[in-house]
Symmetry: C2
Subunit: 204 residues, 2 copies
């Protein structure tokens, strides 16, 4: 749960095991399985073993849960991208691009449920439109960083930079479809694999 | 529309502009926008400007449309992969892998609506489970081809082959999220970009 969602919340104590973070985790899981629009607060209460009245001790509304989940994904990604595009960050554009690709993979794996929800948002409400706008800002920053790396001569110039950026982050985002934290590959292996495939290529 | 869907269909003529292929195109578009489960035959009839009775002159059931759409995506991909993994196909495993990646991008762009539907299938019915099984078979063949290319010494050996295969086709599949046939990039530019990024890398 991000701090952004907390100020509007009165401080109330739920039953043990049903604090706000746990409610949010269960909500995101339900939203991802059934779709946000198809999930009701009643469904969420049932999943948590709470009455519908009790759930409002923890959260104001379904939309507040969506905001908190999208912030959870977007805040970390925004921090990573903002850090990478600061000219004072030091290092070449190439180094900063390579670092932000690796960092994005780490964020995605650490926050997979909320990033999955973010990637499914289609703009069906003001909250979703705001999240799409934040995603677009990230995409623009990354495309700009790709352009810088091309200009500095460290990245191939024969693929248009916006296309590079889309393919690169398309590969990163595709992880949400299959990555399991307790599966075959640990986070470092996957982060290395994505970065090396993208920058150094598969050919030997 | 694939031939697979035709044998069970009585040959009936619809109104001009409402032949079976057009009905299928509209159905796939609706399934992608609203979700297969949330779309009714009544919705489809409305979208086509037909009565609900008239639509059954064109198709037997909603599920038949799903089968036809999934076959449309899977048949082409299966042909491409089957061709690539035949040892008699000629060429090194590396060349055949590179060719099938390029071909997959082309199929995805040529059949984007039905591939989009395929990628969203979650196994909610027998038809969906069968499609997932066909996808899994494709994935296994591709992972095997990656392994062959590693063994032949033409592909880097430090990323596990199943992970290479997932990342490679994760990047390919991510195209459904943003590619527009009448957009900035033509199919050949995108197919080249994916293949070069994956095999040769972005670094200069």
């Amino acid at each position: 749960m991000t701090s952004a969602a907390e100020p509007s919340q009165p401080r109330r104590r739920g039953r043990p095991g049903h604090d706000q973070a746990a409610v949010l985790r269960t909500a995101v899981d339900l939203f991802n399985r059934r779709g946000y629009d198809a999930t009701s607060m009643g469904d969420l209460a049932k999943e948590l073993g709470l009455t519908k009245a009790a759930i409002y001790h923890h959260v104001q509304s379904k939309e507040q849960l969506l905001i908190a989940a999208l912030d959870d994904a977007l805040d970390e990604l925004t921090t990573a991208v903002t850090e990478a595009v600061r000219p004072e960050a030091g290092g070449s554009a190439y180094e900063r691009l390579r670092a932000v690709v690796r960092r994005s993979v780490e964020v995605l794996m650490a926050r997979q449920p909320s990033v999955t929800l973010l990637l499914r948002v289609r703009g069906n409400s003001e909250v979703e439109v705001a999240a799409l706008n934040r995603r677009r800002w990230l995409d623009e920053q990354l495309a700009e960083l790709v352009s810088e790396a091309v200009q500095e001569g460290s990245l191939r110039a024969d693929i248009p930079p916006p296309l590079v950026s889309r393919l690169l982050f398309g590969m990163v985002n595709s992880l949400v479809e299959w990555y399991h934290p307790d599966g075959t590959y640990d986070a470092a292996t996957v982060a290395d694999a994505v970065t090396e495939l993208a920058f150094d290529g598969l050919s030997r």
